[in-house]
Symmetry: C2
C-alpha cells in the first residue's frame, strides 16, 4: 500500500500552485512553457496519475458509459453468438474514444422492473447508457432515463414510440429476401420457426414472412409459423411437427442457426433430403452453419456495424456533437446462400465447406 501521489505533491515538487498543475494535466492554455515543463517533469518523477474519482466529483463527468446487456430469462449462454460481435464493437468504439465501459447483464424480466434502472444508474457513475436488447424497451424505462437526463441509445431493439435513438437490423427485409430466394427455387409452401415471439426479432420476421408471401400471391392459410426456444432441441422438435403437416412445407426459415441444425437433424432422420425435399435456412451466420451437411443458408446481420454505430452515436451525444438526424437506424442484412436451400449446380458450395 504505497503512498498515493496527489496533484498537491506534483505542484509542490514543481514549485507551482495546484491550479497551475491542474491546468497542465488537462492541457489548458495559459501556462508558461517554463512552468509546463516543470510540472511535466514532476509528474514523471513522481509517477503521478490523476485520481479519476476526484476529477469526476469536481467536473460532474465520469467518462464512463454503461452497457446494459438484456438477456433471456433464464440466461442461456448459447445464444450469445449474436451479442458478442456487437459487444466487441461497442467496446472497441468506446475505448477508442477514451471512455470507460461498465458492463452489466440482466434478464429482460429484471430490466423491465420499475426499480431496476434507478438502482443501477442513480449512482452518478456513468455519463450515458447503451442498452443492448432484443426486447421492446418499455415506456417507463425510457421515461426514467430521460428524467435522469442520461443520454442513451438502444441497440438491437427500440421503444414503442420510437422516442429514443435506436439502431437495429432489418429482420423484416431479411426474411423477405429469404422468401424471395426460396420462391425462386420453386417453393410454394413455407414455414417459419423461432423462439418466443416476445423478441422483436421474431415479431419483425413474422411480419416479413407474411408480407412476402402475400407479395408472391401465395395463399396464407397453409403457411406455418411455430414458436419454441432458440436452440437445437427446439428446432428438432418443431421440425418433427412440421413434417407431419399437410401440405408439408418444402422450405423452412429458422430463427437462428441452432434451430436450423435441429431442423436438419429431424429432416435427415425422417429420410427426406435437404434441399431437394425440404430447404432449410437459418439466421445469424454462426459457425455451426458452416459445419452442417449440407452447409446452411443463413442471414448475416451487420452486428459489428450495429455496435459501432450505436456506440458512436452515444459518444457524439455525450460530447455534444450529435447531429440529430434519424432517430432510428435500420441496417440491412446480408443473405448467405449455401447448399441447404439451393440444389447444387456445381462444386462451389462443396469447396466452400473447408475454406469458408
Amino acid at each position: 500500500m504505497q503512498k498515493v501521489v496527489t496533484l498537491k505533491d506534483v505542484a509542490s515538487v514543481a514549485g507551482v500552485s495546484l491550479a497551475t498543475a491542474s491546468r497542465v494535466i488537462n492541457g489548458h492554455a495559459g501556462v508558461s512553457a517554463q512552468n509546463r515543463a516543470k510540472v511535466e517533469e514532476a509528474i514523471r518523477k513522481l509517477n503521478y496519475s490523476p485520481n479519476a474519482i476526484a476529477r469526476s466529483l469536481a467536473t460532474g463527468r465520469t467518462g464512463t458509459i454503461s452497457l446494459i446487456i438484456v438477456q433471456e430469462d433464464p440466461i442461456v449462454p448459447t445464444t450469445w453468438s449474436h451479442e458478442l460481435p456487437i459487444i466487441q464493437a461497442i467496446h472497441d468504439t468506446v475505448k477508442t474514444q477514451n471512455w470507460e465501459l461498465q458492463i452489466t447483464m440482466c434478464s429482460y424480466r429484471e430490466f423491465r422492473q420499475p426499480s431496476f434502472l434507478p438502482h443501477h444508474l442513480s449512482r452518478g457513475t456513468v455519463d450515458g447508457v447503451l442498452i443492448l436488447s432484443a426486447w421492446l424497451v418499455e415506456r417507463h424505462v425510457v421515461a426514467e432515463l430521460k428524467a435522469k437526463g442520461l443520454p442513451f441509445v438502444i441497440i438491437g431493439a427500440h421503444d414503442p414510440d420510437y422516442e429514443a435513438f435506436c439502431v437495429e437490423f432489418d429482420n423484416t427485409e431479411a426474411v423477405r429476401s429469404l422468401v424471395k430466394h426460396l420462391r425462386s427455387e420453386g417453393h410454394e409452401t413455407f414455414a417459419l420457426i423461432g423462439g418466443a415471439p416476445d423478441q422483436l426479432h421474431m415479431e419483425a420476421r413474422v411480419q416479413g414472412f407474411v408480407s412476402a408471401l402475400q407479395d408472391c400471391g401465395l395463399p396464407i392459410w397453409n403457411q406455418l409459423i411455430e414458436y419454441g426456444d432458440w436452440n437445437v432441441e427446439s428446432g428438432y422438435a418443431l421440425m418433427q411437427k412440421l413434417i407431419q403437416r399437410k401440405p408439408r412445407p418444402t422450405a423452412v426459415i429458422c430463427g437462428n442457426d441452432y434451430l436450423a441444425v435441429g431442423a436438419m437433424q429431424a429432416i435427415a432422420e425422417s429420410g427426406l433430403r435437404i434441399p431437394e425435399d425440404i430447404a432449410v435456412v437459418g439466421f445469424d451466420d454462426t459457425v455451426v452453419g458452416r459445419v452442417t451437411l449440407p452447409k446452411l443458408t443463413t442471414v448475416r446481420p451487420p452486428l459489428t456495424q450495429l455496435g459501432r454505430l450505436g456506440a458512436e452515436r452515444l459518444v457524439q451525444e455525450l460530447v455534444g456533437s450529435a447531429a440529430d438526424g434519424d432517430r432510428r437506424v435500420v441496417l440491412p442484412c446480408e443473405v448467405v446462400i449455401r447448399a441447404s436451400s439451393k440444389v447444387q449446380t456445381n462444386q462451389t458450395n462443396q469447396k466452400e465447406a473447408y475454406r469458408p
Copy 2:
C-alpha cells in the same frame, strides 16, 4: 436535466444534520429511532439516491471490480464459447455481493505492454482486479499490480512464480484421461492438435499428452503434435496432414471442438470412418460437438465454477476475509464420452443426439 437531490437536501427536509442523515444512509448505529424515521421519510419523499462518486472520494473505496479479458491477437469472436460462461459466473458472483463490474478487453499483446496496466488502473476507480487470460501473466504485470496495492486474482492462467492467487482447470489431467479412455478403446498411435503453444492450455495439454503416453509405455517417436489456429479450418488442414503420416494416428485429440469438427470433415472426406478408423475428441463441450455425426467426445471444463471461485476469492480479499489457503486452485474437468471415440454398443449415443 433535473435538479439533483443531495444528502444536504435530505438532511434539511428531515430537520437533522448532514452527519445524522449520512449515518442513516449507511445504517450506522447511534441514531434515535425518531430521527431515523424522519430521514427515511425525507429520502422517500425526495427520491434521493446517494452519489457514488462522492462517497468513493470520501471513503477511498469504489465498490467496483475491474475484469480484464485478455484475448487473442487479433481478436476472434469465435473462440468466445470458452470465456462466456466464465464471464457470466464472474458477473453474477460480483453482482450478488453488491459490487460493480467494469469490463475491459484487450489482446494479450496489449496486456503485456508495461504501460498498459498503469494506464488502465491508476485512476483509482477500482478496488480490485480480475484477470481472465489463457496466457502467462508476466512478472512485471504482477509487480505493477502489487505496487499499486490492488488485490487481484488470475482466472484461467497463472504467473511464472505462482505468487498471485489463481484458479485454473486441469488441462494436463484432462488430456491424460482422454488418452486413458482412447487407450482403453485400443488405440496406440495418437496425435494432438491445437492452436499456438503460447497459450497455457496448450502447454499443459502437451505435458499431459506426453506423460500419459509414457505411462502407457507407448513409444513417443510416432506420437504427433501439430500446432495451428483454434478454428475449423485449422482442424481440417492439420488433419489432412496427419492422414498422410505413417504410421497414421488412430486417435486425435483436438484443442477445441472447432478443430475437432474440421478434423472430422477431413477424415470423412478421405473416406475413413469415425471412430472405427480414427477416433476424434475435442475440448470445451460447445454446441458444435453435439451437432456433428457422430457426436463428439469432448472435455467439459468447469467454467462456471472457475469464474465463481475467482470472483469469490477476490471479493473475500477486498472485504478482508480472505483465508489465505492455497494460492493456486486447479479444478478437474469432466470428460464427456460420445460416439466419436467409442464404437457404439447400443443406442444411447444415438438418442442423446436429440435431447442432450
